[in-house]
């Protein structure tokens, strides 16, 4: 953030009558290319910057943000922030004066910046070609995507805070459409990291195609109760849908069924849930949240017992607790929210499940999972498990249950922890959750 913007903010904040103010400034550069029909179909790059203002006046907080960096637009949004503060009934917020020290949170890999756009295009072409050659039943590679992003983030306030963070990441995704005997199946796989050396396009393509091909002949199973194993990424989508129950602000407003249960055994005794701001080599590592509070690694559930919640500066103040460094943007969010893995291979989890279904994909999470009640009813696909062996594929079924009941009655957990991509990541190994209602034929 340059000094003229800083001066402009300080002057406008004073004119608007803010006693305290804070600005965060982010800059993002991104690149994305896509291939379709063995030709480059998209080539996209961007340079973005934005400024977010937070001001406190008479114990009330006002917010505003702009991507237009002229003096007049900065003045406009700060005047609006004041009008916004005036009607806010929320509890007083304070600005954070900064911590004595911040943890080291490596999220930036210099080597990635050395990869040219032409090299990224070549990797994308290679990814698409690998998917085409993985199986002769590949009819089309509907998406082959390679993207990179670099972000930097600075927070400054009039209490002396002045900290910055930088991160970069690369993302590859391929989706293959396979056809055989009049049937069409689609599946994909992704990779997300900032260590470009770890990218193996052949492996991503092979996984995507073998997942798609394995679904030929899939049929609904009969309606009934089935013992369910969620494969790791399917488990991630379920767990991610209910992560907000661990946000203190939802506990405070009565929108979490975990309210008042800290210290209680809520889940099966082998269930451990953590939110870690720093993991070994992840582009989502952060040293502080967007209020400048140091981001921490913490246990939320240990041995099935609820240990605590995720706090922003604001929600922590309300409960008289220390913030956990989970205040991002307008509210709370997790960093790496995950179910701690066990040691068993998925084959062993499936074997122990004996008879039931292995669910590999869940759809409709945004509508079919009720984050408050824990109820879910979702379109699913996967495989029938018979005598501990993965058998024929199944599709056009729904799997329904309740998240809290399911985690309480869970049977077993695998060692195959995998995370979703992005700035806020959910991780899970495969989980054998016991009996759930399945609607099919």
């Amino acid at each position: 953030m340059n000094n003229s913007i800083k001066r402009s903010v300080a002057q406008s904040a004073k004119n608007a009558g803010f006693r305290e103010w804070e600005v965060s400034f982010s800059e993002t550069g991104s690149f994305e290319t896509r291939f379709f029909n063995r030709e480059m179909s998209q080539y996209k790059n961007s340079r973005l910057s934005s400024l977010t203002f937070r001001g406190v006046c008479l114990g009330k907080t006002g917010y505003a943000a702009t991507e237009l960096m002229t003096d007049s637009s900065i003045d406009e949004i700060i005047r609006k922030a004041r009008a916004n503060a005036d009607i806010t009934d929320g509890d007083a917020e304070t600005l954070y004066k900064g911590a004595d020290s911040y943890p080291d949170a490596p999220a930036y890999d210099e080597k990635l910046e050395g990869v040219s756009d032409a090299e990224k295009v070549a990797l994308c072409a290679e990814l698409e070609a690998a998917a085409y050659s993985a199986d002769e039943r590949v009819k089309s590679v509907d998406y082959a995507v390679m993207s990179t992003q670099k972000t930097s983030f600075t927070i400054i306030n009039d209490r002396g805070l002045d900290i910055s963070h930088m991160a970069n990441s690369a993302y590859a995704f391929v989706s293959a459409r396979v056809e055989s005997g009049g049937e069409t199946k689609v599946d994909g796989d992704f990779w997300f990291d900032n260590d470009i050396d770890a990218l193996n396009v052949q492996e991503i393509a092979k996984n995507a195609v073998s997942r798609a091909v394995s679904q030929f002949g899939a049929k609904p199973v009969k309606t009934g109760e089935y013992s369910i194993v969620f494969e790791n990424m399917a488990a991630c989508s379920l767990i991610g849908a209910f992560a907000s129950a661990f946000y203190a602000e939802n506990v405070q407003t009565g929108l979490s069924l975990l309210k008042g249960r800290v210290g209680e055994r809520v889940f099966a005794d082998f269930i451990n849930i953590r939110d870690d701001a720093r993991m070994a080599a992840s582009p989502a590592n952060v040293a502080f949240d967007t209020s400048g509070v140091p981001a921490s690694n913490k246990s939320l559930v240990t041995g099935g017992v609820l240990k605590g919640f995720l706090y922003s500066l604001k929600s922590a103040l309300k409960d008289g607790f220390a913030p956990t460094g989970n205040g991002f943007g307008n509210g709370t969010r997790y960093t790496h929210f995950y179910l701690v893995p066990g040691s068993e291979a998925i084959s062993s989890v499936v074997k122990n499940a004996c008879d039931g279904l292995l669910i590999t994909e869940l759809s409709g999470i945004h509508a079919g999972a009720n984050a408050v009640s824990g109820d879910f009813s979702l379109l699913a696909r996967g495989f029938v498990i018979r005598s501990g062996i993965i058998c024929e594929p199944t599709e056009q079924i729904t799997v329904a249950g309740n998240f809290y009941d399911m985690m309480r009655d869970a049977r077993n957990i695998g060692g195959d922890l995998r995370f979703t991509p992005g700035a806020a990541r959910v991780g899970s190994p495969s989980v054998h959750v016991g009996a759930l209602k399945v609607s099919g034929e």
Partner: protein, 461 residues
């Protein structure tokens, strides 16, 4: 937002990539939002977004690709630098003089954002909160919101197009959560329009709040929905999400051009029951999904997608239209300058039919009446869809019986369209936000009450 000479230079520089078409999309958007949680103003915020996207079409090996760059530094130097970064060696197409397109605004906001004080808006939301929370002791939480957006865009292309448009939209919501024996169920009503603060005159916030409270209390007391395959009567208004998901997305050129749609190559064929006529109409005055011009500067229009069951038209954008050999249909949309536009829906609905609601219920000995739908999703290549029912009742002996909760409907779009066996009168639209590859755009979904003779109902019952 940009001078003609800068636009000319930027397009010319971008075309040095060897492309045969270049386009500038520049926007300044102001958003304001106020949210009231349990009666207190939780947050009020204001945001300005501003930026420019430059797009170039490149023909390669018979296929068309697009280059897209965007930035929020819209100074002449920055845009020229961006355009030049897209350029390689190649023959340059010449940009003709710009012809400024007259865009008549058919969606005029009467009360402009900012014309009503924040405190007056907060007061109207407070009344909604009070009505919902006093409706029933089971109502434990409320959330009421107001949001407005004013988007000013200029779309300029190398064919000489210069089009500017102002889009003002407002949306309110009144939601309630009911709690019974540790169970929580929520309901929300959230109407929106291409309008300003007159949204508060168009909708009675207290009535919306009471409806939400009534739904939440009904659902929290309801038993779990029985599961299996059964006839399903789908309610009007947001029930149209079934068509939006199961068919609308698969009629967008985005998937049709790639042959990745179950409806690709089926123009003129019967793809739905003869009772189904479906329309995407971006011109309806004041509607949430309406636009004067689309995000490529093309006038929106009324596109009949399906007429009496026969596929009549896709929704086509410029780039996919080249691949398909079809003219654009005024359907190209993007969330913001950060997205290249592509074919999307506007106000999409199934037209009214000849039955009445009572005819449909009395003709159904046993089934599910899915009165209010939640969201859902679809895989266009297979047509597999899912969506959640937020308020439902069983139908027994041709009458609406007890409420049930937690139902999900799943199926394949192509089969479901054929299985629509009754369509009522009284088409109604409701508002949603549709997410796809060009971002989140405001869309209306709509339909009269319809019956699908066989659908898989999922849930815990």
């Amino acid at each position: 937002m940009i001078s003609q000479s800068v636009a000319y230079d930027v397009l010319t520089a971008a075309l040095a990539s060897g492309g045969d078409f270049a386009e500038i999309f520049i926007e300044t958007t102001r958003r304001n939002a106020i949210s009231l949680v349990n009666g207190g103003v939780e947050r009020a915020s204001s945001v300005i977004t501003h930026g420019c996207g430059i797009r170039v079409f490149i023909a390669a090996g018979g296929a068309y690709g697009a280059l897209y760059s965007y930035t929020n530094d819209t100074s002449a130097e920055s845009l020229l630098r961006l355009a030049k970064s897209m350029a390689k060696d190649g023959a340059c197409v010449k940009v003709p003089p710009f012809a400024v397109k007259a865009v008549e605004n058919a969606h005029i906001a009467e009360k402009y954002p900012g014309s009503v004080k924040n405190s007056d808006i907060a007061r109207m939301l407070t009344l909604a909160h009070e009505r919902a929370s006093s409706y029933d002791p089971l109502v434990t939480q409320t959330a009421c919101t107001y949001a407005d957006v004013e988007q000013n865009v200029a779309i300029i292309n190398s064919e000489g197009l210069w089009a500017e448009d102002k889009r003002v939209r407002a949306r309110v919501s009144a939601g309630a959560t009911a709690t019974l024996a540790g169970e929580k169920q929520s309901a929300v009503n959230s109407p929106g329009a291409s309008a300003g603060l007159e949204i508060f005159d168009m909708y009675d916030m207290e009535q919306l709040a009471e409806q939400s409270a009534r739904s939440a209390v009904t659902i929290v007391k309801a038993k779990r929905c029985p599961v299996g395959v059964m006839p399903v009567v789908i309610g009007d208004g947001f029930g149209g999400v079934i068509f939006h998901e199961a068919c609308g997305h698969a009629l967008e050129a985005t998937s049709v051009a790639k042959n990745a749609s179950v409806f690709a190559g089926k123009l003129g064929e019967a793809i739905a029951s003869p009772l189904v006529t479906a329309v995407d109409d971006g011109t309806i005055p004041g509607e949430w999904g309406s636009l004067n011009i689309d995000d490529e500067g093309e006038r929106t229009r009324k596109n009949t997608l399906i007429e009496n069951g026969v596929l009549k038209s896709y929704m086509v954008d410029k780039l996919n239209g080249r691949v398909m050999g079809m003219a654009p249909t005024g359907s190209s949309r993007r969330e913001s300058y950060r997205f290249a536009p592509t074919s999307r829906m506007t106000n999409t609905y199934i037209a009214s039919g000849g039955s009445s609601f009572d005819d449909i219920i009395s003709a159904t000995p046993y089934g599910l009446y899915a009165k209010k739908m939640g969201g859902g999703s679809v895989q266009p290549a297979t047509g597999d869809f899912n969506f959640f029912v937020t308020e439902a009742y069983l139908i027994r002996d041709g009458k609406i019986a007890e409420p049930v909760r937690g139902a999900t409907l799943i199926g394949k779009g192509s089969k479901t369209l054929m299985d629509i066996d009754m369509v009522s009168d009284g088409m109604r639209m409701e508002q949603g936000v549709c997410g796809s590859i060009s971002g989140a755009v405001p869309t209306n979904v709509g339909q009269p009450v319809i019956r699908v003779k066989r659908l898989t109902v999922g849930g815990r019952g």
